[in-house]
Symmetry: C2
Subunit: 391 residues, 2 copies
Amino acid sequence: MAAGGFMASGVECGVRSSGSLDLGILYSEAPCVSAAVFTRNVLKGAPLTVTGDAVTNGDVRAVVVNSGNANAATGERGVEDARRMQKIAADPLGVSASEVAVASTGVIGEHLPMARVEAGINEAAKNLGSKGESFAEAILTTDTRTKEAAIRVEIGGKEVIVGGTAKGSGMIHPNMGTMLAFLTTDAKVEKECLQKTLASATERTFNRVTVDGDTSPSDMAVFMANGVAGNKEITMDHAEFPIFAEAVEEVARSLAKDIARDGEGATKLIAVSVAGAKDEASAARLAKSIVGSNLVKAAAFGEDANWGRALNAMGCSGVGFDPAGVCISFGEVEVFKDGEPAPHDIERANAALSGDEVVISVRMGEGDASAEAWGCDLTYGYVEINGSYRT
Amino acid sequence: MAAGGFMASGVECGVRSSGSLDLGILYSEAPCVSAAVFTRNVLKGAPLTVTGDAVTNGDVRAVVVNSGNANAATGERGVEDARRMQKIAADPLGVSASEVAVASTGVIGEHLPMARVEAGINEAAKNLGSKGESFAEAILTTDTRTKEAAIRVEIGGKEVIVGGTAKGSGMIHPNMGTMLAFLTTDAKVEKECLQKTLASATERTFNRVTVDGDTSPSDMAVFMANGVAGNKEITMDHAEFPIFAEAVEEVARSLAKDIARDGEGATKLIAVSVAGAKDEASAARLAKSIVGSNLVKAAAFGEDANWGRALNAMGCSGVGFDPAGVCISFGEVEVFKDGEPAPHDIERANAALSGDEVVISVRMGEGDASAEAWGCDLTYGYVEINGSYRT
């Protein structure tokens, strides 16, 4: 299932390791309203400057992405290369350069091999079709699987589809859409509404994922709405705006969890929920602190219900709270209750960590707010991948 | 070499794994002026409450420490147990309970086996002598070696010794003396001056170490000065105060680097220096962000001079700066210069990571401030230790 009026493709042009698709184009037949969010890393990859300009000063209807090279920390030449990617793609797509968003992901600090990139863009433009899977594959780096999601909702009697594709496996930490994500919809949506919907969904989904505490300089999420569904324009005041916003959040959440599950070297998804916090920001910070703790992550890998590490991660999250009001469960097993160790069967608690999805639930006595965060276990595989990524 | 008038011991009482010393006492024959700093984790181990009271309301001249159990997240009973440790030690030492500091380190969330602890304290008190090495061993957990340092300086014509012992290997992250450290001096020092000297040295040494980004609830550094050297009391205005402060900082730095070097699973010390920052706090934050990055740590393990990861960690440190003014070297090899990749021999750069000490130097164009931080590589050993610490 894909949003109407969008086409995609993915080809191999030799930027990433041989045998891998590494250049993709996503294209809308109709002009789009567009929105984007970017990394909060001080270091920003060159494509972010170029795509930021395009979405701020106008609207994009196509995205060209390469994997294998992030075009980040590449100075002035990097920005020129990103602008050239726009121009190269514009011609065969029959759009203006400013209608093309650019994204790059991979090694930091090397210049793009532009001859290969140019050949790849031309080939990908020729091959556009119902090839979302090829596009999803072309944007991967250390990811082990593609990440796609789509949902259908009815808005004003019209069927509308929200779709999305993302990549992300390492250098993943919540501080703005920490990976690449491309969302599409055939709904007609007002620009400001589209931006706010994307920002809000990002805050609650992509920004709730952490794999290793490092925020990439390449992160971006781009959302294009082409209106081919024929609905009355969605604005913040539209009666059915909440349905649209929930659909977008649902797609983004699905992609966010896919990213966490596919964290470098991961064998398990860790899902942490915090309830009873004083506000959503505190709940999110506590949940992210737990899911980001190397010690919690290693304990999940070792299938050890070491709840002290989860409590400790809360304690150093920067959020103030009264430990006496805290309860913690691993799966269904309560291990800490009202500030005291809760008598429990350790074997049963450890068993709650033995599957491919570990659920840690925290209740506090501070208020009514809650939040979820997602991450993965810390494994020998993570060390292996990152001890030998470049060489 | 040890500060005059201090005695120590370490015994096995069965709290930690069998065959390991796990209870130690450090004791001054003369009354002391004392100072202490504690973890900033919201969760504080019971001993911190008790020791904090003792150092705030009076002065301690003895420290009793157990390893194997942190007595943290143990509720009211935990605090009662810590107070009992004070009382048990006071009797054989011939001091009042309020002159005894208590520290515990190890697993979080289990009550102390008090019968064993009591027997251990009595035995340790009987065995006091020139046994700093036994004390240093008794306070270890996953550490692979003891950590001691001492320095001799002359203050007002009197020879003065500053000594120290520390432990720390996992759950190590800069947010207050992130481990246990016990400093001693035979100098006579005014209380306020001692506290300020300890706080300042902690900020520049212990707080600049990170092993895994998790701040322990048990961290504390206690500093006792018994004045047996016979010097004129050291105050902040004393002409030779800087000599004393530098000696304390030197001892603390040596212990801090020992902790980083002995990080769980570590094969290498990583030392990061940042110069040209706008202030020391920014320099420290940038240095700690680099040394705390899992990706930098894994690259050090893999002996891959992947400077993009160091630059990236700076970018997500929360400190604003202009990447165009940044230069980065691995050992002697400059890999990034004035915001652009610097042409360099990759083999030579990688070779700079092959020893047991990796030096990463950053220069920025923001100002004149500098700072150092220390950490270790991320290895299979770290995952192994923390995937199976408890079970």
